[in-house]
C-alpha cells in the first residue's frame, strides 16, 4: 500500500478528515456496505451474524455480572444468590447470561449444520472453517469454566469430572490434573483461575472471530447452490439487502431468547446447581449442560478411559481435516443425491448422541451411544471420502442468477467461458 493519506470519497468534512488518516469508514463501506454477496442466501446465512450478537450479549452481561461476583469458594454461591435477589436487575443479567450461552450454542450448531450441508468448508474456505472450529473449541472451554463459577453441586462435580479427563493422559496425567487444579482437588485455586480464564477467553474468541470474518471477506460467502458468483448479476450489496435480512432473523432470535429468559429461565439448567458445592457428596446423576451432551455421550460410549477421552476430543479434531476428507468437488448437498441421506443420518445420530448423553449410563443407552458414535466417525472417515468417487452429482446450475431470474441477465463474456466445476 502506498504511504500517505487515504483518498477518502466521503463528503462530510469530519468523516473525511478521519477517513483520510484512518480509513475505517471506507473499510466499513467496502466490507459491510457495497460488499458483493451472493443474491440467493436463505435464512441459514443469518446465523453467523447471530453468533456475533450472542458473543456481544455474553460479554456485556458477563462484565456486569463480574461487578457483583466473588470468586472465593466460601462466598461464590452466596454472591450469585445476592445477584439474583439484591442487585437491581441482577436476575435479568444472570438469566440472560446463562440462557445466552444456550442461545450461543444453538446458533453455532445451526451455523455448523449450514456449513456442513452446503459444503462451505471446501476450498477455498478451508481456513475460514478451521478458524470456526477454533472458535467452537474456545467457546466450549469458556462455557465449561463459566458453569463452575456459581459453585453449586453441578459446578463442582462438572469441574471434577472434566478436569479428571486429563488424568487419562499416560504417564503425566496425574501431574496435569494437579496442575489444572492448583491443588489436590477442585478447590479455591481452581475457582480463581477458572474465573480469570473465563473473563479472558471471550476476548480471545473475539480475536479469532475477527480473523474468521477477515478470511470470509477474502473468499466471499458460499451460498445455497454452492457455486461461485460469476459476475455482478449473481450478487447484491450487503447493505441494505442482507442487513435487512439479518435484522429479520435477529428479531426472531430475540423473541426466542426473551421466551427463555422471562418464562423458562431454568429449563435448560439443573436444579442441583442451586445446592452449594459439597466436595463430600456427588449428586446421583450428573450431566453436563445440554450443549456438551453429544460429546459426553461419545466419552461414555467407549469402555476405556483413555479411548473415551481420545474419541471425544477426536470428534471435534476431525473437523480440522474435513475439507480434505470430503473428496467431492460439489459443495451443496442439493446436488449430491447420495451424500444427502448419509448426512441426514449423521445429523440424526448427533441428536441421538445429545439425547443419550443426558441419560444414565445404562442399557439401552450405552449400545445406542456406541452405534451413533461409530456412525459419527464412519461418516467422516469412510463415507465422505468414498462418496467423492462413487457419487454422480446432479447437474449444477449455470449461475446463481439464472434460476432466480429465469433466464438471467446478460452475462459478461468471461463468466460464461469459465469452465464448470465437475458435474
Amino acid at each position: 500500500m502506498a504511504i500517505g493519506l487515504h483518498k477518502s470519497e466521503f463528503k462530510n468534512p469530519v468523516i473525511r478528515w478521519v477517513d483520510a488518516r484512518l480509513p475505517i469508514f471506507t473499510m466499513v463501506q467496502k466490507e459491510y456496505g457495497t460488499f458483493p454477496t451472493p443474491r440467493n442466501f436463505n435464512y441459514f446465512w443469518n446465523f453467523g451474524a447471530l453468533a456475533l450478537v450472542s458473543l456481544v450479549i455474553m460479554m456485556a452481561t458477563g462484565i456486569f455480572l463480574a461487578m457483583n461476583y466473588t470468586a472465593q469458594t466460601g462466598l461464590a454461591f452466596d454472591s450469585v444468590e445476592r445477584i439474583m435477589r439484591d442487585v437491581n436487575y441482577g436476575w435479568l443479567l444472570r438469566y440472560a447470561h446463562a440462557n445466552g450461552a444456550s442461545m450461543f450454542f444453538i446458533v453455532v450448531y445451526i451455523h455448523i449444520f449450514r456449513n456442513l450441508y452446503y459444503g462451505s468448508y471446501k476450498a477455498p474456505r478451508e481456513l475460514l472453517f478451521m478458524l470456526g472450529v477454533v472458535i467452537f473449541l474456545l467457546m466450549m472451554a469458556t462455557a465449561f469454566m463459566g458453569y463452575v463459577l456459581p459453585w453449586g453441586q453441578m459446578s463442582f462435580w462438572g469441574a471434577t469430572v472434566i478436569t479428571n479427563l486429563f488424568s487419562a493422559v499416560p504417564l503425566v496425567g496425574e501431574s496435569i490434573v494437579t496442575w489444572l487444579w492448583g491443588g489436590f482437588s477442585v478447590d479455591n485455586p481452581t475457582l480463581n483461575r477458572f474465573y480469570s480464564l473465563h473473563y479472558l477467553m471471550p476476548f480471545l474468541i473475539l480475536g479469532v472471530v475477527f480473523l474468521h470474518v477477515a478470511t470470509l471477506h477474502i473468499t466471499g460467502s458460499n451460498n445455497p447452490l454452492g457455486i461461485d458468483p460469476k459476475g455482478p448479476q449473481d450478487t447484491v450489496p450487503f447493505h441494505p439487502y442482507y442487513t435487512a435480512k439479518d435484522s429479520v432473523g435477529l428479531i426472531v432470535y430475540f423473541i426466542v431468547f426473551a421466551v427463555l429468559v422471562f418464562f423458562y429461565p431454568n429449563i435448560l439448567g439443573h436444579a442441583d446447581n442451586y445446592i452449594p458445592a459439597n466436595p463430600l457428596v456427588t449428586p446421583p446423576h450428573i450431566v453436563p449442560e445440554w450443549y456438551f451432551l453429544p460429546f459426553y455421550a461419545i466419552l461414555r460410549a467407549v469402555p476405556d478411559k483413555l479411548g473415551g477421552v481420545v474419541l471425544m476430543f477426536g470428534s471435534i479434531a476431525i473437523l480440522f481435516v474435513l475439507p480434505w476428507l470430503d473428496t467431492s468437488p460439489v459443495r451443496s448437498m442439493r446436488f449430491r443425491p447420495l451424500a444427502r441421506p448419509f448426512f441426514a443420518v449423521w445429523c440424526l445420530g448427533f441428536i441421538v448422541l445429545l439425547y443419550v448423553g443426558g441419560k444414565p449410563a445404562e442399557e439401552p443407552y450405552v449400545t445406542i451411544a456406541r452405534v451413533a458414535t461409530a456412525y459419527y466417525f464412519l461418516y467422516f472417515l469412510v463415507i465422505l471420502p468414498l462418496l467423492g468417487r462413487l457419487e454422480r452429482p446432479l447437474p449444477l446450475p449455470e449461475s446463481i442468477a439464472r434460476p432466480v431470474l429465469r433466464g438471467g441477465g446478460p452475462m459478461p463474456a468471461g463468466a460464461m467461458s469459465k469452465p464448470m466445476e465437475k458435474a
Binding site: F64, N68, R82, D86, V87, N88, Y89, G90, L92
Partner: protein, 182 residues
C-alpha cells in the same frame, strides 16, 4: 442499489421509505434504551446495600465534651455531646463571620447533640477532633490535617480551603437517648 428501485411519489414531502426508516430507527432506539437500562441500574446500590443504610446510635455512653464516630453508609458520622461553653460559643458566632452561614439552631435537633458527617468538605479527609488528645483547631471543633481546614463546635467551616460546613445527615431521635441516622 436503493436508488434503482421504484419510489412512490412523495406525499407531503416524505416517502414511504422515509416513514419506514424513521419508525425502524425509533423502535431500535427505544429497544437499545430498554436493554441498556437494566445494565445501568445494576450498578446502583443493591437492595442489601440499601438495607444497611440506617444506623442506630445509643447516646448514653457519650460523656459531655466527648464524641464518638459511627459508620453510616460506609462514611464516618461524628456524634458529639457538647458542653454548655461549646454550645454558647457556637451560638455567639455572628453569621457574618461564616463562610457558609448557618445558625447553630438549624444544625441540631437537641442543643447538646451535634451530629455531622465527618468528612472534610474540601477533599474528603477525616478531620481530627474526636479523641480528647486530638488537635481540635482554633475554633474548638475539628481540624483537618490534610489541608488545614478548621471547623467550629457546630461543625461549620471557619478557616482553610474547605468550601462548606460539615453536612448534617438525616436523623431522628427514636428515644431520649437513641438516634437513628438515615
Amino acid at each position: 442499489m436503493a436508488d434503482s428501485m421504484a419510489q412512490p411519489a412523495p406525499q407531503d414531502g416524505g416517502t414511504r421509505r422515509d416513514f419506514l426508516q424513521l419508525v425502524t430507527g425509533s423502535f431500535a432506539a427505544v429497544g437499545v434504551g430498554a436493554i441498556a437500562w437494566p445494565f445501568i441500574s445494576s450498578m446502583n446500590p443493591a437492595r442489601d446495600t440499601l438495607a444497611v443504610s440506617t444506623t442506630d446510635v445509643d447516646l448514653k455512653p457519650i460523656a459531655a465534651g466527648s464524641a464518638i464516630t459511627v459508620v453510616f453508609r460506609g462514611k464516618p458520622v461524628f456524634v458529639r455531646s457538647r458542653t454548655e461553653e461549646e454550645i454558647k460559643a457556637a451560638r455567639a458566632t455572628l453569621l457574618s463571620e461564616l463562610r457558609d452561614p448557618e445558625p447553630d439552631q438549624v444544625r441540631v435537633k437537641k442543643d447538646q447533640w451535634l451530629v455531622v458527617v465527618g468528612i472534610c468538605t474540601h477533599l474528603g479527609c477525616i478531620p481530627l477532633g474526636q479523641k480528647p488528645t486530638d488537635q481540635r483547631g482554633p475554633f474548638g471543633g475539628w481540624f483537618c490535617p490534610c489541608h488545614g481546614s478548621a471547623y467550629d463546635t457546630s461543625g461549620r467551616i471557619r478557616v482553610g480551603p474547605a468550601p462548606t460546613n460539615l453536612p448534617v445527615p438525616t436523623y431522628a431521635f427514636t428515644s431520649d437517648t437513641q438516634i437513628r441516622i438515615g
